[in-house]
Amino acid sequence: MKLRYFFLMMISLLISSALMASGSEDFSFDNQSLEREFSALSALEALVVSNNYPDIAEMEENSMLAPDFLSNNQPFHDRGEDPLGIPGFWWGCVLGPVGIIAAYILSDNNKEQARMALNGCIVATAVEVAVILVWYVVILSWTWNYSI
């Protein structure tokens, strides 16, 4: 009996330690891959500091920027907050074209939110069309079988 309790206790200890280990793993990340991913931006950061914080126009004038930088750069607050805390995608997905307008107006004319709402609208329409098609196929096959 004692041996059984001991065995059960050992198993529960093993399970709990495994659970705890998975908890700390959730906090891990690949630092080296992150460094590689940000190497170009880190180089630009060092360049900005060493030149005493010129703005982008000054850097462009002095050809200090990579040619594709301007098309890809978007200051981190430009994305704006989600309209009423709901991502633009869901505005478009649930409300359709009205949702696109609502997302645009509620996000203070943020084009990125409107684009996300448009994506939502397209996804919702595609899903709706797919469901209708499946429905018709089912109905048709059923009536076909029934008539034969």
Binding site: L19, M20, A21, G23, S24, D26, F27, F29, N31, L34, E37, F38, A40, L41, S42, L44, E45, V48, V49, Y53, P54, D55, I56, A57, N72, N73, Q74, P75, F76, H77, G80, E81, G85, P87, F89, W90, D108, M116, N119
Partner: protein, 229 residues
Amino acid sequence: MRRILFLFFLSCIFTLHSVAQRDAYYRIRADFSVKEKHTDGKSSLTMGQVYYDKARKKIVYNVKFPDKEIWLFHDTVMYRIKDNVPEKKAVIPGYIDFSVFNLALNNNLKDYGLKNSMYELKNVTRDEDMVISLWSPKKEYAKLIGDIKISVKENRLYGVLIYDAAKKMIGKQIFTEYIKIGGFEFPAEIVNFSYTAEGQEIHQITTYKNVKVNNWDENSFYNYPVPAL
């Protein structure tokens, strides 16, 4: 009786000490940089100085790159001032209270300010050098927001995992480095991963350098006037 008096005296000293500790640091400035990468290839770099005074409750970013402008966060509004022309945007409630500046100055960074919030502590576990706590929203908020997991390493906040109400992870923050100024500690680098509803990932590295506390040199920034709009 003597013992009770002694204990009372001791508890008074501890209370006064903790109040003094909390109020010892009231304003902070730092050089900041935010590097951001999206999975769709977009990237950004934003740099400048940031100022916060906990009595004024205004976060002021003096942005120098990519463009020279001021970002002022006050209440639930962000003012973007470029060439003296202000623009107004709404921000989520609690943006200032849960900012790293407010949490650090009020000595609440270790629990991410969740102790006196809409969350309650559910579980604490230990794994190697980390203490992990699970915070769940109070009943009335459970349908809107999800759990938050916090890990503390070497007595400092190390990581924050944010879940939505469907238990899907939507954000991960890792506080990789700290700066120590006297008894005050402030994160020097924060790595942030956001997972959007559309399946995109946004990676962000925020760094703070040249951190000064209780600094009076650039006083005008700490109480930057709110534009009349």
